[in-house]
Amino acid sequence: MPALKPISQVAVTEAAAELLRELTAEHGPLMFHQSGGCCDGSAPMCFPAGEFLTSDSDVLVGELAVPGLAPVAVWMARDQFAYWSHTHLTIDVVPGRGSGFSLESPTGRRFLTRSRLLTDEESAALGPR
């Protein structure tokens, strides 16, 4: 029997995974910090791993498993996570041009967070954080 996939609160589409591979070739290992607020708020911002200094005020929401790449950590401010904790996040990509310092903006593509409600089973497995 194959091992059960561990339950994660984050996922990545194949198109976004391909963009992550391209960006890794240029910039090395990557991370996300999910933004909030004005303009491009609520966009997932992609940086070289360690560029954005996380702290106790952030939560590691999960790690994206992209074959061939080191796990890509997805962070969010703790106070924001309080309002997002019941949702599952999938990092996707759309044509567009984000602001902010996210690495993909020169490519003409833009990471986008798609959300759905966590199932009861997922919520129980993830537990309180």
Binding site: Y83, G96, S99
Partner: protein, 502 residues
Amino acid sequence: MTIFQPPTTTFKARYENWIGGAWVPPVRGQYFENPTPVTGQVFCEVARGTAEDIELALDAAHAAAPAWGRTAPAARALVLTKIADRIAENLELLAVAESWENGKPVRETLAADIPLAVDHLRYYAGAIRAQEGGLSQIDDDTVAYHFNEPLGVVGQIIPWNFPLLMAIWKLAPALAAGNAVVLKPAEQTPATVLVLMELIADLLPPGVVNVVNGFGVEAGKPLASSSRIRKISFTGETTTGRLIMQYASGNLIPVTLELGGKSPNLFFADVAAEQDAFYDKALEGFAMFALNQGEVCTCPSRALIQAPIYDRLLSDGLERVRAMRQGNPLDTDTMVGAQASNDQLEKILSYIDIGQAEGAKVLAGGERVDLGGDLSGGYYVAPTVFEGDNSMRIFQEEIFGPVLAVTRFEDFEDGIAIANDTLYGLGAGVWSRDGSNAYRAGRAIQAGRVWTNCYHAYPAHAAFGGYKNSGFGRETHQMALQHYQQTKNLLVSYAPKAQGFF
């Protein structure tokens, strides 16, 4: 009704960077395409600036800053008023260009964006002339003089929702205070600031304002992290705001941040006591979420209605929403235009999805709109109204689209608690016929601007800025001058004798 033609002759086919009062090609020779949200078609190319271009701009700014800082306040004020006059003389040209660049209705740029830019320049021209330093008598023989000195060279990163007005909000106090500026427009709206620079080229000494376009990671980051700026000002979202503070901490420089909000708009029960002009005004306040397609940091995106009038006000408010005319932004009858970019459109649609998944009810809109013809390629979203609960994500996150989330409150305490149950605190609205009730509500809401019986007014001389996660620092008020100044204290002794220590 007037329908303006696309401003094809206003824009050049290609823009270089504006450095030292001249067009300077980007060092790496790269450009990016600039589409209009009205149709999705590219209308010009703009320099894709990089760290090398930022350095050139900083060279020009550092060359210009000392003389500009020593220029008499009256002379600097005169330059600002001349810029204001030049903008006013070209109001229609700039308004149409801004509508084409951003997708916003031209009736807004004609009536608000551009006239406000003119007024803010005139305001800071007056404010710098009226500003006084300080004098403190320490004792009989000792006096402390306090001078307001410019910082020198400052960096400013401008958002795409009001490209010209936000540039002027930041430029006017910085220039009035005697600083030279390197300005990075948003990559979604890079061109109208350059149209403005060319219009006013003869009014500003070369190098006092320099504009470098490009992507955030390639041009914004080298500016924000440069050791050659003495201050950085940014309007945008929280992650980039934190990153800018992080870079600023490396250089020990101050920052001004405006990071958005999720502004509550409270309607107390007495609003509907009469079916009169005031009630009509309040319904307009309900509909204000759609101004600029919701792409306003202070968008009143949460309507909180007191229970006794909930059904009635919501029903009348929805009628106002259904009457909104969405269409060609260049048509003066259009009230709701296009979202500024495709990724913005996609983000708004993703929020409409999660709102429905969380159980919120769509009462109006809820979809992308195809306006047909050339406009089919544009980014249009129907004004959308959700009914739900304040814990839902559509009540907590700034969607930056024409999306309103409505819920009810029981009494004063309940209303204030819901209003303050948010990470942000930029704007808020309070509607009540009872002045003392409105006053108490305004003081109890944790936000930097509480519109009381009005909304979306942005006059100069009323301070604008955030509480909580919405950032810090104030704009559109003379106190912003101090964000671009440092205090020089001369501590002077007039005593004839030694202190007696040595």
